[in-house]
Subunit: 273 residues, 2 copies
């Protein structure tokens, strides 16, 4: 899926919402536990109820790996269901991978070729030759961690190197990587005020912004500082949407929460005209 | 497995060798491809031939994920085989994970509880609250990336923050994490001269050292600068051992390569007395 197709979808749906599928058997409605594949059953119901309100889904691989083979199968079924029924939706494997060259290539194959995701999140710590193997898949997108939404972000990401924060070095350095036009970046919504500076370095890139909702980030703030001509934002909400209700109305409740965010987004898009 | 049990094994086997099980269907002997589970068949043969020469095995998860469900099953069978037949061997999931708190907990469950690994490699970029969920499993070990063996290590890891390299900040900061006594660190053998400085910061910790062999690191150099009273080193070799031969003698050839390294290690241990 190309960036321009993504932008087209944003305008069509009046939404730049990404829904995080962090599916946890301890949090999904108990009646689903009787199903043969409770994780997929939950995801399918959420997707069926919300696909018209969002432009992206982001399963976090940790939640699937925690259930071993059954989890991996549920992930495979989920991405398969999305690609078959909603090929216009951008899919993100939130995997935060990264390793030396030949090994990163294996991860890229796993998520781009085997599972057919449109994109994957990647950690930058190991540098250029750990990221470029993902970028070598030129019809896919690589979403590099820059400034994350958690408190631990202040441990290293905001430390000054030659008067400039590490995450800014990550943004700048990554622009010189081969096929860097296919990079996007993770920027936590809990640090919206940083977006002004970030946009000076990567004015045109898409930013995947987690942390709205459960983690306390503000949609208005993120849009105020982060939006660009192509919108350039994918705002993610996971727990705030998918666990809106523990009852049999969970999918309806999720759609209601997603709809509220989509409404806010439509307003933002209208004001841009 | 405790650190003192690991040290005991090192003295018993006169080896601090870790064998990396980076199993690639394109590189294993072709006659194995006829087996029902070629990846596990290869791993089992390598383990059967080398277990007396090493104290640790390190499957890199990327190689297994690249084969989807079949790969995940092969990883499960491999760790199961190791835990059943060689419980005295230290097992490392080379997964380089790391995410916000609740998500890191899921990864920790996947590798420590579901797969029953003794340890996992973790990326430090997201800081304290991304690492501590792994350390919360106090009978396990968390192996933090500090200075990696690839060229990309110079992109960010060696950059100066207040006159000190980022990887040194990672080492120092991580010492304040809860249960930090269960931390080990990845230090690439290709940068052996850095070990003098590193040992000033983490004198007692175990270091997992990849990059000897195929990547050009020197065993002598690593031992000269990195060894401590408890040995404190796990030297990893992957491709140099497991792909020593493409023929039917592959396991024997692997044992021969592993044996050569173990001999060198036994000499080093003898010189220490």
């Amino acid at each position: 899926m190309t960036t321009s197709q993504l932008v087209e979808q944003i305008h069509l749906k009046q939404s730049f919402l990404c829904i995080g599928l962090d599916t946890d058997l301890k949090k999904i409605p108990v009646h689903l536990l009787e199903k043969q594949d409770p994780i997929f059953s939950f995801n399918k119901a959420i997707i069926d109820a919300t696909h018209h309100l969002c432009v992206a889904y982001k399963p976090n691989t940790a939640f699937y790996e925690a259930y071993g083979i059954a989890g991996w199968k549920a992930l495979q079924r989920t991405i398969g269901y999305l690609n078959e029924n909603h090929p216009e939706i951008f899919t993100i494997a939130d995997a935060k991978r990264g390793d030396i060259g030949n090994t990163s290539t294996r991860y890229a194959k796993a998520f781009f070729e085997d599972l057919q995701f449109d994109s994957i999140t990647v950690a930058p710590y190991m540098g250029k030759d750990s990221v470029e193997p993902f970028l070598a898949f030129t019809d896919k997108h690589t979403i590099l961690l820059a400034l994350t939404s958690n408190d631990g972000a202040y441990d290293f990401q905001t430390k000054l190197i030659g008067g400039k924060e590490l995450y800014k070095h990550v943004l700048e350095t990554s622009k010189s990587y081969k096929n860097s036009e296919n990079l996007m970046y993770v920027i936590g919504a809990t640090k919206a005020e940083y977006l002004l500076e970030i946009r000076k370095i990567v004015p045109d890139s898409f930013l995947l912004v987690p942390g709205v909702g459960a983690q306390g980030g503000s949609l208005e703030e993120v849009c105020k500082y982060g939006i660009n001509e192509n919108i350039g934002l994918l705002i993610n909400s996971s727990r705030g949407i998918i666990y809106a209700s523990e009852g049999k109305d969970f999918a309806h409740a999720a759609a209601s929460k997603a709809g509220a965010l989509q409404n806010q987004m439509a307003l933002v898009l209208k004001q841009m005209k």
